[in-house]
Chain length 152, copies 2
Amino acid sequence: MEELPGAFGTSASLTLRLGQIVFSSASLCFMCLDVGFYSYTSFSFLVTVMGLAIPWSITLFMVDAYSVFIQCLPIQKRLILIIVLGDMVMSYLSLAAACSAASVIDLLHEAGKSHCPAKLCGRYQLSAAMAFLSWFLSLASCLFNFWILPSL
Amino acid sequence: MEELPGAFGTSASLTLRLGQIVFSSASLCFMCLDVGFYSYTSFSFLVTVMGLAIPWSITLFMVDAYSVFIQCLPIQKRLILIIVLGDMVMSYLSLAAACSAASVIDLLHEAGKSHCPAKLCGRYQLSAAMAFLSWFLSLASCLFNFWILPSL
């Protein structure tokens, strides 16, 4: 089987996982820096999803790092299937969380400054944007691994 | 290749497509029955996405119906790949639309009756619920076709 850049065990995959960790953590930090997010269901949902996405990305980052730097791991069909399904679930969840947070921010922004002070609102927007980027990288990982699945 | 119930060209797939058409149309109707949805970005997004999902499901419903009732179509790898990718895009979009609509409805509900009269709010909630069901069926179609892809 040829190696596809971005699929499991390549350095491109390592970069994608690193990006996912960075963006998910940034999204979580921007949202959690004050306790106000608890008042809104969708912000809590975003925090929960990012709290799930970070350990998933870190695990796969470590496996990829092991495969790239120490010893090339054998690529098994079952392993790739689990990674593809996990990435798919994670990407669905992050897109859902990002979209619901973004729509609530949009509504709060329209409702006026009393509901959403400029500084806080900007931070929520940054958090949603980071969640979108994390979704995009997670989707990329999912599609690259999905692509090599038929050839295994 | 064995036939998998739910994959392209089977009667289970026909049922899934029919469900998608019914739920997407119901979601669109519940949202569009008054013109108030234009004021909210996420409601307009839901209407746009459902307006894309309906023709996609109808096309695949007709192809499936042809394959089941008239003449069994040959299953080509390229065709299944296009269907899987299309279903994936559609399911991402419907989940995003359903989530953003649901979170906005939740916020409007909390804001009080002036923003969201009980009757109108109930209809918006029904619309979001239908969009979730449509997403679920779309995901099922995507996964069934994805499953047969490696064996082609």
